[in-house]
């Protein structure tokens, strides 16, 4: 069973960001053609926990659960509203406090929403570099939705195209369980006699 995690940094309810994220998730499941489990991670309820993590260095129980879901995902769909020409601070904080290596090799579909289409390149100049840095495999098509797009039919086509690309990439990869940071550190440590030899 494939694990798909949808991360949305929408703030209002209803939120166009969460709406886009949900549609991307549904389209991906439809395109995948195999059984998939979809987990939605809304960042708004985790906002305090994210700030606390910055200050204390560890995750609350709920945040740890969301982080673990992302780390174990076959695919992550990450959608943010555009704030001041980039991803929102809340969105970035979630990825700032993820344990190193959590997205190594994970297939990620990026999406963004804004009030105007003039922000559409945010996917290319902000989100794609962020996930490249995190060693994710970013799907070629990202989906940007301005307010006006929700009234048209073109958005549906772009969602299906992106979801199709994500599904193809996921289906081509074996299912693997990822070790958490502690176990990765342990596996990387090697023999103590070797460490002693320097």
């Amino acid at each position: 069973m494939r694990k798909i995690v949808v991360v949305s940094a929408g703030l209002s309810d209803p939120s166009s960001t969460s709406l886009l994220a949900t549609r991307l998730g549904d389209a991906t499941v439809a395109a995948l053609g195999e059984e998939a489990e979809v987990t939605h991670v809304e960042l708004r309820p985790l906002a305090h926990a994210l700030t606390d993590h910055l200050l204390t260095g560890f995750a609350s129980t709920e945040l740890a659960r969301a982080q673990e879901a992302v780390a174990q995902a076959d695919a992550v769909i990450a959608v943010t509203p555009v704030f001041s020409a980039s991803y929102s601070g809340l969105f970035k904080t979630f990825f700032d406090v993820l344990e190193t290596g959590s997205l190594d090799g994970t297939t990620v579909l990026v999406g963004a929403t804004a009030g105007t289409a003039r922000h559409s390149l945010v996917l290319e100049h902000a989100l794609r570099p962020l996930f490249s840095y995190l060693h994710a495999v970013v799907v070629p098509t990202g989906v940007f939705a301005a307010s006006e797009d929700f009234g048209g039919t073109d958005l549906e086509r772009r969602i299906e195209r992106a979801a199709g690309e994500l599904a193809t990439l996921v289906a081509a990869r074996p299912e693997t369980a990822r070790l958490d940071q502690f176990d990765r550190d342990l596996a990387a440590m090697g023999d103590f006699e070797d460490l002693l030899r320097g």
Partner: protein, 354 residues
């Protein structure tokens, strides 16, 4: 089982009065804290090592510990921690052996890697070599306390030829060493390799981190043939604020908690108590919480409490120690009860640990 306190020696403004102690005051208060710890029946006093504001902890803990040794009769003196990365192991060997003689053996030490990156360049070291320094420096320290006329060569300091550190350990017995860490498995492995103690900082972190590190250390302690996993030598930190009743404890501690260095301005006191070993409450609550540590750490040998940080004035801290003395007297009555602990599982590392 040993009970004691550990201090980081922070110079912090008291948020309830706006008063900041001078370094001189903080240093003298630290001595008073240690003397009081002995008076109320605690077994251990441990000091941090720091090299930067806002700390007035000693750069070389034996300076403070030797002074306290001269003013006390019974309490054991230790560190929390001695920086194994940036101190020359030759100086550690000699300074702590000298302390061991002055204190008639009433000492041990805990090795750590420090809490701030810039400390490395202050002593000509490279933080990227932190683990390598901890491993090589301790290998040399271990040898210096056990052998004379040493020929030694390593990566991080000049070679030694026919070198004997002085003084030799008291009665030929090297000081006992704890290795302290929050989440570096190399340090748990190091402690296990030598059959030394492993101290999990425990405070400010969720218990699951401590549980995994302690389980790793115990399994590896047995692997290296030092004894059974359940007999490995484990120490834990703890953080408490005590009052006769829990409402007063919470009311008195909250102003310190809310703006404390390290965790202030973050989670609520209630959340932090749930997520970390912090216990703010009555003596009975602290007793129950402390006894619960065994449920995930197993039977352990040393419990150190943090009682004096975040700008808490000396009179409040000394009152804390009176109550902590009562708590410890009660805890000692429970020592014969076996720990209820899950069997230690060797972590699955796909054969990378041979």
């Amino acid at each position: 089982m040993e009970y004691g306190i550990f201090t980081v020696g922070d110079v912090t403004t008291d948020p309830t009065t706006g008063r900041t102690p001078s370094e001189h005051q903080r240093i003298k208060d630290t001595v008073a804290l240690a003397l009081k710890a002995e008076e109320v029946g605690l077994d251990v006093f441990a000091t941090g090592e720091h090299h930067n504001p806002p700390f007035a902890a000693p750069a070389n803990p034996p300076v403070l510990l030797a002074h306290i040794a001269a003013k006390t009769e019974r309490i054991k003196l230790s560190t929390s921690t001695t920086l194994i990365t940036t101190n020359d192991p030759v100086r550690i060997a000699e300074d702590y052996a000298y302390l061991q003689h002055l204190a008639d053996g009433r000492m041990d030490l805990m090795l750590g890697r420090g809490n701030t990156g810039p400390v490395y360049p202050w002593f000509g070291k490279d933080i990227r070599e932190g683990i390598g320094l901890a491993i090589e420096n301790y290998a040399l320290l271990h040898k210096l306390w056990r052998e004379e006329n040493i020929d030694w060569q390593g990566k991080y300091r000049t070679p030694l030829q026919a070198f004997t550190s002085t003084p030799r350990p008291l009665d030929g017995t090297p000081p006992f060493v704890w290795h302290g860490s929050i989440r570096s498995p190399e340090i748990a492995e190091q402690a296990a390799y030598y059959g030394d103690g492993f101290f999990s900082n425990h405070i400010f972190w969720p218990a699951e981190h401590t549980a995994r590190m302690v389980a790793l250390y115990r399994a590896r302690f047995e692997h290296y043939g030092h004894g059974k996993a359940e007999d490995a030598i484990v120490g834990l930190g703890g953080q408490v604020y005590l009052a006769r009743n829990s409402q007063d404890a919470v009311r008195e501690f909250r102003p310190y908690f809310d703006v404390a260095p390290v965790y202030g301005h973050g989670p609520s006191l209630e959340d932090f108590m749930e997520q970390t070993p912090l216990t703010v409450g009555s003596p009975q609550q602290v007793i129950e919480r402390t006894l619960s540590f065994k449920e995930y750490a197993g039977n352990y040998q040393r419990q150190l409490f943090l009682v004096d940080h975040a700008g808490m004035p000396l009179d409040k801290v000394l009152a804390q120690l009176d109550l902590l003395g009562e708590v410890v007297a009660e805890l000692r009555k429970h020592e014969d009860q076996p720990a209820v602990v899950e069997p230690v599982e060797t972590p699955d590392t796909e054969g990378s640990l041979r």
